[in-house]
Amino acid sequence: MSHHEIKKPEDIVVPPSSFLAKLPMLGAILAVAGLGATLGSSFGEHKARTMFSYLFAFEAVLAIPLGALGWVLIAHTVRAGWDVVVRRQAETLVGSLPLFALLWIPIGFIGFHELYPWTHHEHIDAILAKKTWFLSTGFWYARAFVYLAAWTGLGLFIYRSSIKQDSLDEAGVEKQVHVVRKVSAGGIFLYGLTLSFAAVDWLMSLQPHWYSTIFGVYYFAASILAFFAFMILSTQALQAAGVMKQAITTEHFHDLGKLLFGYTVFWAYIAFSQFVLIWYANIPEETEFYLVRLSGGWEYLSYGLPIAHFFVPFLFLISRHIKRNRVALAAGAIWTLVLHFVDLYWLVMPNYGAHGGGHHEPHLSFTYTDFTAVLGVGGALLAVFGYLLTKNKAVAINDPRLGESLAHENY
């Protein structure tokens, strides 16, 4: 409990001379170079391989703002107070969701046929014939439109409300906080449904015989985990750039660390739940997913992920002292973020060559487009995120719960 008056922070704008001010330009360069190299290669003979690289990068990077959207909606709904000093970053991330409607275009209009085997008439067998009502081109596009529109709408609403708050008076802020809370509460349903169905449409249907009812939750777990790892790093970057050096304290990092730790366990719980049911039932339609991932080099990732993406961060982050140490927490966040990309690579890439007439078995082999796609899509996110973050105040300074956040302590 603090007895002195808590002052509102004044260092809330990224200084133009700091390294963070260069992030939009750096991101834009990466985006142009990465997307150029990737999409350029998609017109060559390796079109299919390139589009798998692109889908992997798209899904892995999209997970970060999508995780942010889920968390912001929950935070507004439950009137969270502790997070006000860091929430503007998450709101900036969701403000970049419209970008992903653009970045989705190559998947929908360039690689659609190469990526999804159910679009090939010769691959429709007795099982797929029963799924054609759902996995049909028109319906698939219509659904994709709904997801992207929902995320763009929710993202822009959250972002714009947050920015508008900076120039409202007290009565206006109070009125607006209630509106945002109501929209967020309803938005959680829209978010849950669109995220699950998008995961089914864009990732699960890569292997259309296979199904897993928990798959949407798996993608959600990956998303929110990646988001917390990202936000721990972006918060530290903000402070390194001289923003809110006093306002964001060890207490806030401790809570972000707890969420990173908690969702690490959640990811493992969901991943194992998916595996154990399929392993126990042993039905060929379902085991196919793990069978392709247990040969051709993929077995290293299949056995490595539980260790590197669960046991290592679990044991590392379990201690309170690690979560309250900035360097150690940043190391945990970087580790988790890298493993998030490995996880998505493991989800997407074994499907390349798994169908297509059985020319070859899917092997774990990297190609340069895997990296250029990540740099391109990731650079595009950093460009938009950096631009919006440096353009506005880095904290919602008029938020009625700012005082609660500034005084936040863990006990």
């Binding site: 409990m1 007895h3 194992f272 154990v276 042993n282 309170r320 302590e409 006990y411």
Partner: protein, 178 residues
Amino acid sequence: MSETKSWGLLAQYENPHAIYKAAEKVRDAGYQQWDACTPFPVHGLDKAMGAPPSKLPWIVLACGLSGSALMLLFETWAMGEAYPMIVGGKPLFSLPAFVPVWYEFTVLASCVAAFLGNWILNGLPRPHHPAFASKAFERVTDDKFFILIEAADPQFDLEKTKALLNESGATLVEELEP
């Protein structure tokens, strides 16, 4: 000597702010055997009291890990040795099948350790306490805040301690019988 007859002193405060300041004074005076009782958690009071970090996390970790190891051993022994049975064509030692119980027992062992450890570290159950004799102390569950300093504390001196508590903003100081 009157000190030997007394269990200690009870001081009453009106609000969280007052007890927070008083706790800092008692801490700085070097007292060890004392406690604060409040109707609701006063955030930061443990820091004002200079309380050391809790040992509870270590108890939970130790019990969680040993519970975890014991359950894995038990499952291996039960399924492989004591009552070997093939289920669904799986090997006798099937780690994936063991995981749910293994995991749940780790959680259970940790939770029970946290619950019992909390009781033991707090000296519970404790049916009687000298402070219960005080009429004023009844309001600890309502709207008053209390500091108890035990006579067993090496710093304890009836007059000096009484003076310290009075100075610290107490609205009432009582001597407690053992």
